[in-house]
């Protein structure tokens, strides 16, 4: 017993005169007023945040973030590039352009036709149930419309490229020509919506940064797809084509305008496009797909042959990289936007701290 007592060591505060003074103050106040109006000790972390019209529900975001992983933005890239390439390949064929360009465009479309559905299936929570998408066709669901467009495009683009390949290898024949021409017409028809519908897909959602840009997203995504398709075609050796140069210029110009549009507005719902990780990504993607290829292409028109070739190569690489970054950036911006708890509650940006983030 005495052993246990001996082992007790006093822990806690060392008494000092100010602490003793404080205890006397409390006693005097209690004597004088019959009560003590002190707040006591604040527990660590206090004062606790309170729910209010300024903080919403403790600043907990109302909306859920997208559950999509990297496959989806990559699919936006491959789909956009493949769709635009199919359109270019078909038009190039109809206008009697260089055969190599037509063939390369078809191969890009066919590659996209194989990779895109694989990515879409891989992102599903239950990939084995992909075919459930084909139970219904719902015009009011951009995902449903998109899946059917993807299916039509994939079949058409793959058939075109394969028939073209067989015809070149084993000589032309009537059935092959029918498949090739029908496939090309179909991949043109499906390629037009396929190159930009992903803008509709994310635009028609409850994520503020997406639905507030719903009128621009499909055009922005189409320009991004054109930039990527032109870049890939040029990197495959079609870097003497004036048509591609013009299309590349046009796409870069659209991307410059898109950047100007979002940078010149200061709406709070555009914040994810300018601040944080998503802002950095959007801006990087924008610079790589807008001003950089535009200036490089302009320079390539002026310089001598060797230099101009170099400039176009760099412009092509910038466009492809820019398109890829842009797709990831917009999905990232969707995450940031879903975390902006003020937006859906219509609470103006104030002095209150961002809680619960």
């Amino acid at each position: 017993m005495s052993d246990a007592k001996a082992r007790v060591v006093p822990v806690g505060r060392v008494p000092d005169s100010s602490a003793e003074q404080r205890l006397l103050e409390i006693r005097h106040e209690a004597e004088r007023r019959g009560e003590v109006k002190a707040i006591g000790i604040r527990p660590s972390g206090a004062p606790f945040p309170q729910a209010s019209p300024e903080t919403g529900y403790y600043g907990i975001p109302l909306l859920k973030q997208p559950s999509w992983t990297w496959e989806v933005p990559l699919y936006f890239f491959t789909g956009g590039a493949a769709g635009a390439a199919a359109v270019m390949g078909a038009i190039a064929d109809y206008t009697g352009a260089d055969r190599k360009l037509v063939r390369d465009a078809r191969w890009i479309a066919a590659a996209g036709a194989v990779i895109s559905p694989a990515l879409l299936v891989a992102d599903l929570g239950r990939p084995a149930r992909f075919l459930n998408m084909l139970r219904v066709f719902k015009p009011q669901s951009p995902m449903s419309v998109g899946v059917w467009t993807l299916l039509g495009f994939s079949g058409a683009a793959a058939a075109t490229a394969f028939a073209g390949f067989l015809a070149e290898r084993y000589g032309p024949s009537l059935p092959l020509r029918i498949v090739e021409n029908a496939g090309q017409a179909a991949s043109l028809a499906f390629g037009l919506p396929f190159s930009n519908y992903t803008g509709v897909l994310i635009g028609a959602t409850t994520i503020p940064v997406w639905n507030q840009n719903v009128g621009e997203l499909p055009i922005h995504f189409a320009a991004s797809g054109v930039g990527a398709a032109v870049g890939l075609l040029e990197l495959m050796g079609n870097d003497r084509s004036r048509a591609l140069q013009a299309l590349g210029m046009g796409a870069a110009l659209f991307e410059c305008l898109e950047g100007l549009r979002s940078e010149s507005s200061d709406h709070s719902h555009l914040d994810p496009l300018k601040h944080g990780l998503s802002g950095l990504m959007v801006r990087t993607g924008g610079v790589l797909s807008g001003p950089v290829p535009f200036l490089l292409r302009a320079a390539s028109l002026l310089g001598d042959k060797q230099r101009s070739h170099e400039f176009r190569r760099w412009a092509a690489m910038a466009s492809v990289a820019g398109s890829l970054v842009t797709r990831f950036a917009w999905v990232q911006a969707g995450h940031a936007s879903a975390r902006q708890w003020r937006e859906p509650l219509g609470i103006a940006q104030g002095e209150k701290p961002e809680l619960g983030e």
């Binding site: 009011q140 669901s141 519908y197 635009g203």
Partner: protein, 263 residues
């Protein structure tokens, strides 16, 4: 068989979470984490894939006098949140498999044997309710106890609620009940009481109404929820313009190039 609804009256809720427990037990919903939130007695935060009922703990300093609150005392309101089962449901419209359907009771139901986990409903819900369970892969939310309603029983949460804060019944009758209760509360001096049922928005009203006191935003109830189908017209118009620009631009570029080359 009639069209049914919930009326969740936060002025009667005692924050016991019987509804959360009953929901999880009846529906076999998994645990939703054991983390401390650090800001109130609410350690769950929001409804989600494994939280179909969620009791919110709203702590605030009210204006003195409302409902007899002492000026220096914090008010402490509880409200059991749930899927709103919107009249125009964003998740239902967005679902590309037809997994999400409207039941004969007016509820919005995710058929678990159809859902393939595409995740599009998650970004289409204006209330942040439906969520993909990453272990399972599919999307989950309140089923409105479709299985219980099928055999004429009330949903598990409403049955377990000890104060009848969660009421269940035919939607028209419940709407009238909500108005009567509101008049009663206001008559008792709770002038800040309101019914939350977004009938004037594109959501078109819900099958889960709430009586709350004060600004509904403190309960994370959005003042203007919108079903995302309202953006479709603008989106597809923009898509058509983009397609026309692509087609026209490509034609002009290749035709001009061809002429220059003398073809």
């Amino acid at each position: 068989m009639s069209v049914t609804a919930f009326l969740t009256d936060s002025t009667l809720c005692i924050g016991c979470k019987a509804c959360e427990v009953a929901c999880k037990e009846w529906n076999g919903v998994g645990e939703d984490g054991l983390d401390w939130s650090g800001f109130s007695y609410d350690n769950t935060g929001s409804v989600g894939a494994s939280t179909w009922r969620h009791v919110k703990f709203v702590e605030q300093t009210p204006e003195p006098g409302f409902g007899g609150n002492a000026p220096e005392m914090n008010s402490w309101a509880f409200s059991s949140d749930v899927c709103k089962h919107c009249e125009n449901a964003g998740c239902l419209e967005a679902c590309p498999t037809g997994s999400i359907v409207r039941t004969e009771f007016g509820g919005v139901y995710v058929q678990p044997d159809i859902c393939n986990g595409c995740g599009y409903c998650v970004v289409s819900c204006p209330f942040g309710v439906v969520e993909r369970n990453e272990q399972d892969g599919r999307a989950f939310k309140c089923t409105f106890c479709y299985d219980r309603q099928k055999v004429g029983l009330v949903p598990a949460c409403a049955k377990a609620c000890p104060t009848e804060s969660i009421q269940f019944g035919e939607i028209g009758a419940l709407r009238r009940k909500a108005e009567e209760r509101l008049a009663e509360l206001r008559g008792r001096g709770m002038r800040d009481a309101t019914v939350y049922d977004p009938v004037d928005t594109s959501v078109g009203g819900s099958h889960a109404m709430f009586i709350v006191r004060g600004d509904p935003r403190t309960y994370n109830l959005p003042p203007k929820p919108e079903v995302p189908t309202i953006y479709l017209k603008k989106a597809w118009a923009s898509s058509a313009i983009a397609a026309a620009l692509l087609l026209g631009g490509t034609l002009v570029a290749f035709l001009a190039d061809g002429q220059r080359n003398g073809r």
